[in-house]
């Protein structure tokens, strides 16, 4: 089953647009200076995180406030195994995603029965437990000091030579670009697959979805697991690039930042999430003076958006839209009656 493209463009012009965009992104890597590339890498990481979380929030309608924990798990998995056992980064990158996915399923399992707002709090609790554990379990994680000297990725091709990633920003820019494009592709395929439909059904009405034969438990666990996998991937990239991880990179504020990207960009829209990552990461970096006010502005933006455009900047649907329009209509009737009653008394 295919859906009409967002913009209503024909497939040809759509393909041309995507090609142009990609060419632009590749060209950016060639011409931009280190500072801009650095921001580009950051945007890439948050795009992956945002897309992963958009599976959980935007598709399945589960508000996860502890998402950054999976990013942390990916980062620490990479950091620990590469520094202690010298495991190759290219083994750790996919396994980070797998380990994070496993955690996603394990942490998701107990929350299956919980309603939306309870779920938000429990996931928040999970996120904090992971962070505090990383902070306190000094024997394993070196506590707040973090883990240093994580080897940078390198590609060795026999007969051709060795590509050391080292600290070259440009290399990481192209690396994260590849990862992000891969993520966009996979998430797109997922959304338009059978499981994507199941998520949508659950998002709109869990009970009805279950009654229609959707395996709600399985679909939710898949959402948690797949969403977490992308965070694990991003975490592994982060560890390999920075060469250093510590618990303070994985605070609740980071979770909120990713939630902002997803929600404000448009919970159900991939383009919205990417736009969100650009706006929320690049803009504050470029406007250094205003960086102090970033979170303050996010707060205002979230409230404003909830008020005037609940589906997000580029989103088309919002969780439980149809049903809630009915409810709003009922509420309107109720208000009318109340005012008449009180007016008469």
């Amino acid at each position: 089953m295919t859906r009409a493209p967002v913009t209503g463009l024909s497939n040809v012009s759509r393909g041309a647009l995507v090609g142009l965009l990609l060419a632009g992104l590749v060209a950016f890597g060639l011409v931009a200076d280190e500072y801009l590339l650095d921001i580009g890498v950051l945007v890439g990481v948050y795009t992956i995180l945002g897309l992963g979380l958009s599976i959980v929030i935007g598709q399945a309608g589960l508000l996860d406030l502890g998402y950054i924990a999976f990013y942390a798990i990916g980062a620490y998995w990479t950091a620990l195994l590469s520094t202690h056992f010298g495991v190759n980064f290219w083994v750790l990158l996919p396994t980070s995603a797998a380990v994070a996915a496993l955690f996603g399923v394990v942490l998701g399992y107990p929350t299956l029965r919980l309603r939306g707002d309870y779920l938000a709090i429990v996931t928040l609790g999970f996120g904090e437990i992971i962070r505090i554990t990383l902070n306190n379990w000094r024997e394993l994680t070196n506590g707040p000091m973090g883990i240093m000297n994580i080897p940078h990725p390198r590609i060795a091709v026999s007969g051709v030579g060795v590509l050391e990633f080292g600290l070259k920003v440009q290399t990481y820019y192209y690396f994260v670009l590849v990862l992000a494009i891969m993520t966009v592709f996979v998430v797109r395929r997922l959304i338009h697959s059978r499981i994507g439909l199941a998520w949508k059904a659950i998002r709109e009405d869990e009970l009805a979805a279950g009654a229609m034969g959707v395996d709600v438990r399985r679909a939710k666990l898949l959402a948690f697991g797949l969403g977490a996998a992308f965070a694990g991937l991003a975490g592994s990239f982060f560890a390999g690039r920075a060469g250093f991880v510590s618990p303070e990179s994985f605070t609740f504020a980071e979770s909120v930042l990713v939630v902002c990207i997803v929600v404000i960009g448009g919970a159900g829209s991939l383009a919205g999430v990417i736009a969100g990552a650009i706006v929320f990461i690049a803009l504050p970096e470029l406007l250094r003076e205003a960086a102090r006010y970033r979170m303050l502005a996010f707060g205002v933006a979230m409230v404003t958006l909830a008020l005037v455009r609940p589906q997000g900047l580029l989103g088309r649907t919002w969780v439980g839209e149809e049903r809630d329009e009915d409810r709003a209509a009922e509420a309107g009737v109720a208000r009318g009656i109340t005012s008449r009653v009180s007016g008469g008394s």
Partner: protein, 304 residues
């Protein structure tokens, strides 16, 4: 050995009663609107800083009011409570009412936004460094069965229990309390019966915020230190307390607060203080998974 237990119980009940005060705000709002007011913890944080502001306004050693301890304490509490009441009602009016009933996640997102805003506004105004909260009350130590407790602990426990008793009676015996219970049961039908739902909601936010303001002062006095981030963790714990007791249930929130305080105090005493927060979250998750209705809450089937 017994003395250690007594000590943990005293400490646990003191902080637990503060959690209970904040938890009441969560549980009342949830009861009436079925939303988690994420910003409630930050209202409590603002309460602490409003207390500091009032103290600063009264001048060095409260010279403006003649230095009477009781008067200073009363004015500080009053200032914090009134300020929080205004803040709580303002938040409801500006951020929550327009999204009420629009979607499932809408109010949650708005609440998250308000919380972010308050936290960062506070950070920009007072800075990131913790501020000292003046002790106000001269410290007395009491020794009972080998355990030590202070007059401040007694005062906090007494004041919070007093406030809780007052609220309990208000909700059970007064006209407005009945209106609140009616809206909590079914807002629509209550509105047919002539209950002004909006007024009840305002009242709910007002009472919850007043209690949070009071808790803000008590914690300031108890720990002697306040910072812009204190509302986040305290809010989470208070929410845990509300869930523990059964969200929407007033007496449950009070019981949940005290239970959580005890669990934390014993856990911190026996496992290690750095795991204190983990204990609270573990309690929260365990309760939600095994008994989502809480200790005193009823098990509700999901509405179709």
């Amino acid at each position: 050995m017994a003395a250690v237990y007594v000590q943990q119980i005293i400490n646990g009940l003191t902080i637990g009663s503060v959690y209970a005060l904040i938890a009441l705000g969560y549980t009342m709002v949830y009861g009436v609107l079925e939303m988690i007011n994420f910003a409630h913890g930050d209202v409590y944080m603002v309460g602490s800083f409003l207390g500091l502001l009032v103290l600063a306004l009264m001048g060095p050693s409260a010279s403006l009011v003649g230095g009477s301890v009781a008067l200073v304490l009363a004015l500080t509490l009053l200032g914090a409570m009134a300020g929080c009441a205004l803040l709580g009602v303002g938040i409801e009016r500006l951020a929550y009412r327009p999204v009420r009933g629009t979607s499932r996640l809408g109010p949650l997102i708005a609440a998250l936004g308000v919380s972010l805003f308050l936290q960062n506004a506070a950070m920009l105004i007072v800075g990131t460094r913790p501020k000292a909260f003046p002790p106000l009350i001269e410290k007395h130590l009491y020794h009972v069965a080998g355990a030590v407790f202070t007059n401040l602990q007694v005062l906090i426990l007494a004041a919070s229990l007093g406030l809780m008793l007052l609220l309990d009676q208000f909700v059970r015996r007064t006209r407005w309390g009945r209106a609140m219970r009616a809206v909590a049961q079914d807002a629509e039908v209550a509105s047919f019966m002539g209950v002004e739902v909006n007024t009840v909601v305002i009242l709910t936010f007002l009472i919850g915020s007043v209690l949070a303001g009071g808790a803000g002062i008590m914690v300031g006095l108890y720990y002697g230190i306040v910072d812009f981030f204190m509302g986040y963790i305290a809010g989470l714990k208070a929410f845990t307390a509300a869930v523990l007791g059964g969200i929407g249930n007033l007496r449950g929130a009070m019981l949940g607060g005290l239970l959580l305080g005890l669990a934390e105090s014993f856990g911190a005493g026996f496992i290690g203080a750095q795991w204190r927060d983990v204990i609270a979250f573990a309690v929260l998750i365990t309760v939600l998974v095994f008994r989502p209705g809480g200790v005193l809450g009823e098990q509700l089937p999901e509405k179709v």
